[in-house]
Amino acid sequence: MKKIKKSSIAMLLTFLLLIPLTLYLGTFLSGRNYYITATLIIVELLIPFILAFEGRKPQARELVLIAVMCAIGIVGRVAIPIPHFKATFAIIMLSGVAFGPEAGFMVGAVTALASNFFYGQGAFTPWQMMAYGAGGMLAGYLFKKKRLPKNPFILAAFGFFAVLLWVGPLLDCSGLFLMSPSISFSWVIAYFAAGFSVNMSQAISTAVVMLLFGKPLLDILERIKRKYGMSEESEGG
């Protein structure tokens, strides 16, 4: 019989036990329980990914590589001194494209966590980790094994819609759950409308970085991979 991995057990436990339990207990809390319940669920969703990463016992090279990509994402705003222009998310997605979905997730989640140590942790930290991590992972899946061509325009379009439709709204959700007195349709519309301009500027800056910089950066990453023999097939061995 094939041995079941520890991380898949954690994944199953989270989805079948922990999240329903949280939802069930959440109904007992008085007052604005939805914020605590929602944030707990986000944290619980992060657990299986982190356990899978820990369980795999990542190699030294892989660890340092992820750390470097995270640091570049954080430093991006020093390198490009234009206000409100963030290359962070583009770099996360390009890491996902170059090194695969798992690395994409870790780069995203760790970038969110680590950058908040520099700029201040907030109630949004777990949400940001999830949003960035899932964005990096999605990029990894979509561009894996030439499913989508790594064309600058496709990269830019992907970055634009991923920020506008996934990362931005998920961050708006943390504000919605924290600040609005009740969850109703009008509040949801109000929050998403308020966040739209910020999300739009983020989406545009991500698309610009992807368009101008996506291909050159991918070439750099590919070159490093080829030079040091870190192609995806040999990574497992």
Partner: protein, 296 residues
């Protein structure tokens, strides 16, 4: 003045306090408890940040007013109509509910502001180093790499400026963008080459061959255990009274707020005591420091 006294306790004590303080402020919407939360978190925030702390408080006040005032526009339930706006009633109950939601938000921002000052990166990795070793190692490496890469970025742009390829402050947006991208590209290949060398060097020194031990300078001392007991007793009292229903308050559609008095006062006192601990320690330390300085 030296360091904040509460920050000198074990990181586990620090994180326990903040989890308790933030958790209870989100769960309890009783006005008296919220007021206690606002005052204590504001006090500790100002003690930690000094004069620059007022900037944050100044930014939170308009946000508080906005969040409080906007709720009745969405929620028209309630008994006491204050006035009509756009054909919809603006009720006192909904306004009070808005005030309570806005206070929760303000208290949370203030406690998180204190958390950022108290629980630094090294304390975080000390707490989670054994639980999630690879992730903590990643975080430590990122903490080290960020200042390192900022230095390298300055070097690269300085070198490019010296050969006349830099974008000064007067450059157009397009030039700034392309210059920034080039710097980022150079930085990426430089840092990644370095990362491979670091990785191989770690492997050569036996990374991954055995359980990694971690060094911390934090030890649970007698004072830490004492503080842990105090925190747990106070928190237990608060939770006990909360389950007993002495902290319930609803605003819409009808105001119903549990009175503070009799035995309920004990729960309130425990809550205030819990939230005052860090500020009290800080003030005690300041007074002691000044007395010792005076004696010299």
């Amino acid at each position: 003045m030296t360091q904040d006294a509460f920050s000198k306790y074990h990181p586990a004590i620090n994180i326990l306090f903040f989890v308790g303080a933030i958790g209870s402020c989100v769960m309890i919407q009783h006005p008296a408890y919220l007021l206690a939360g606002v005052l204590t978190s504001g006090m500790y925030y100002l003690l930690l940040h000094g004069r620059s702390g007022w900037k944050m408080i100044g930014a939170l006040v308009p946000l508080f007013l906005f969040l409080a005032a906007i709720n009745p526009l969405f929620n028209t339930r309630g008994e006491t109509v204050l006035f009509w706006i756009l054909g919809r009633p603006y009720t006192l109950e909904a306004l009070l509910y808005g005030v309570s939601v806005a206070s929760v938000f303000v208290v949370m921002m203030l406690w998180l502001g204190c958390y950022n000052k108290v629980l630094t990166g090294d304390k975080f990795t000390c707490l989670f180093g054994n639980l999630i070793p690879s992730l903590s190692l990643l975080l430590v490496m990122v903490f080290r790499l960020v200042p390192n890469l900022i230095r390298k970025t300055r070097q690269i742009s300085g070198a490019r400026k010296a050969i006349g390829k830099g974008a000064g402050s007067g450059a157009s947006l397009k030039n700034k963008l392309t210059a920034g991208m080039t710097v980022l590209g150079v930085l990426t290949s430089w840092a990644l080459e370095g990362s491979v060398v670091t990785g191989d060097s770690m492997r050569a020194r036996g990374y991954g061959t055995a359980r990694r031990s971690s060094f911390t300078i934090y030890r649970m001392t007698a004072a830490d255990w004492g503080m842990l007991c105090i925190l747990l007793i106070l928190l237990g009292t608060v939770i006990g009274f909360a389950i007993g229903g002495s902290m319930t308050a609803t605003f819409v559609p009808k105001r119903s707020i549990a009175p503070i008095g009799g035995t309920n006062l004990l729960g309130f006192a425990a809550y205030c005591g819990y939230l005052l601990i860090p500020s009290a320690l800080h003030i005690k330390e300041t007074i002691r420091w000044n007395i010792s300085k005076y004696r010299i």
